[in-house]
């Protein structure tokens, strides 16, 4: 190899090979840096497998449907908070396939006259299933319009006959680290727990859902049994229920234990009470780019405001 050629002033000349080498290094460096940054930040959207199994039997149209357009089913089944399957909104759709929803039993006990353990298929055969198009408002400031299918919780409660002392209903989710990878991560106290006052639970709007869009509930949406309380923030709607217990005292619920200043027991959708870190006055309907005003009790005030007469909803948030 000869030394570099010299220009007329005696400096080394730029050789074609050197330009190519440096250009190549620049390209590799750029792609390397960009790749690293992408690894750090990018979350590609996932294709979602939708449930295809139709629910047998007759379905009644419920009287509580909103007239708003239903959200895209791929958004409903692809954008979920379900920490048992991961923290990212796309994780549940990716990971919930490992959940086995049959056989599945639900234990109903506590202050009830007929405590029992019942198989999920038996349980849902007890009641006529209804389609109900409900708004769902997440505490994070987004919302969906979801075509649930299920039955009123009140029907189940009447069947198992709450004792005279029962004042609250506690719900418990499955927490099986073998089927639910997120449970190995102690971000929350597992199993997930939620609760309602008995009169809230008896309200005709409150339902237990077993289906979505006329089909069995997809795993990421809470199969095989999940609670739907449309005037409360989404985290009240506990998924994959294994236990329903009637209690005299207000149960400890997962999010209000994890951050009592941010997530109350009642969690009624209330545009006048901000989350400490963001306003609750508006929300983004998934699919919209703009925001819309949030309605008191998520638009169900006519049916449920009476439940909270005389209560200070700033303190009991």
């Amino acid at each position: 190899m000869n030394g570099p050629e010299r220009d007329e002033k005696g400096g080394p000349m730029r050789s074609r090979r050197e330009v190519l080498r440096q250009g190549g290094l620049a390209a590799i460096g750029a792609v390397g840096l960009a790749g690293g940054l992408e690894l750090l930040t990018r979350r590609p959207a996932t294709r979602v497998m939708e449930a295809s199994q139709a629910i047998p039997g007759r379905v009644y149209r419920g009287p509580y449907d909103t007239t708003e357009p239903v959200s895209r089913i791929s958004d409903i089944t692809g954008y979920n908070n379900y920490y048992e399957f991961g923290l990212d909104k796309a994780d549940p759709a990716r990971n919930a396939g490992s959940l086995r929803t049959r056989p599945w039993t639900v234990r109903i006990d506590g202050l009830v006259r007929k405590p029992q353990t019942v198989d999920i298929d038996t349980l849902q055969s007890w009641f006529p299933l209804e389609d109900r198009l409900y708004r769902m408002r997440c505490v994070e400031g987004w919302s969906l319009v979801i075509p649930w299918m299920g039955f009123p919780l009140a029907a189940l409660l009447r069947r198992i006959e709450p004792g005279s002392k029962a004042r609250y209903v506690q719900f418990t989710s499955l927490a099986d680290p073998k089927q639910m990878p997120g449970v190995r991560d102690p971000v929350l106290q597992w199993p997930y727990r939620e609760g309602l006052r008995l009169d809230e639970a008896m309200n005709p709007l409150t339902m237990l859902a077993v289906g979505l869009d006329g089909k069995l509930l997809p795993n990421q949406n809470g199969a095989p049994l999940r609670l739907v309380v449309p005037w409360k923030y989404g985290f009240k709607n506990i998924k994959a229920i294994t236990h329903i217990t009637l209690l005299e005292e207000q149960p400890k619920t997962t999010w209000s234990t994890a951050a009592p200043d941010e997530y109350g027991f009642y969690a009624n959708v209330n545009p006048a009470v901000d989350h400490p870190r963001w306003s609750q006055a508006t929300e983004r309907r998934i699919g919209d780019l703009g925001r819309r005003k949030t309605l008191p009790f998520n638009g169900y005030a006519a049916q449920v405001a009476g439940l909270y007469k005389g209560m200070d909803l700033r303190r009991n948030f």
Binding site: A30, E38, Y79
Partner: protein, 220 residues
Amino acid sequence: MTRAGAGQGRALPPGAWVVPAAAVGSVLPLGVLLLDAFTGQLGANPLQRSEQQTGVLALALLLLSLTCTPLRLLAARVNVRLLWPARVRKTLGLSGALYAFVHLIIYGLDRGFNPAGLLVDAVKRPYITVGLTALLLLIPLVLTSRKDSVKRLGFVRWQRLHRLSYVVAALGVLHFWWSVKKDHSAPLLAVVVLLALFAVRAVLARRRERQAAPVGTARR
């Protein structure tokens, strides 16, 4: 196709590729983000996704730019003279700032472009206050990143001003921490990186002081 003068100009310095690599590499993710936006790859809530993505990119690039000087100083301690960290520091810092401003714009869009609402947020919510402060503090740094800025300000004043970059990064990390709902592993990583950078600088500064002190006072 041959460019006039190509092959006859001055030789490229050995590390000439580093700055263009840093510039292109740090801006590429913005292109990917735009592509994702147009092809519907940002999921069900694209504004929120791009808000989070640009925020993390801004913080990552600012932290990377803050790694340059400690890296050069550490290399110097083992008698390796690195020139490129000083060159990419500015590039990385500027692209970090670019992402921070894009992050603010997306945040504005996410909030429905309501300047009064932004002000309320900035006053009422500590994590917004902190993030916005970091952004405002970035402005003088961006404005004094020109080639002649050091000369105009004088090196000492310029250097003092640019120590703000550590304040910006610390506020940025705090903003990140407070904005996360539950899983703090990513913000924790940012805290660790920031503290490590502070520690390296502190240790090196202390050594330099000791070496500069007259013999007999520092050593006993």
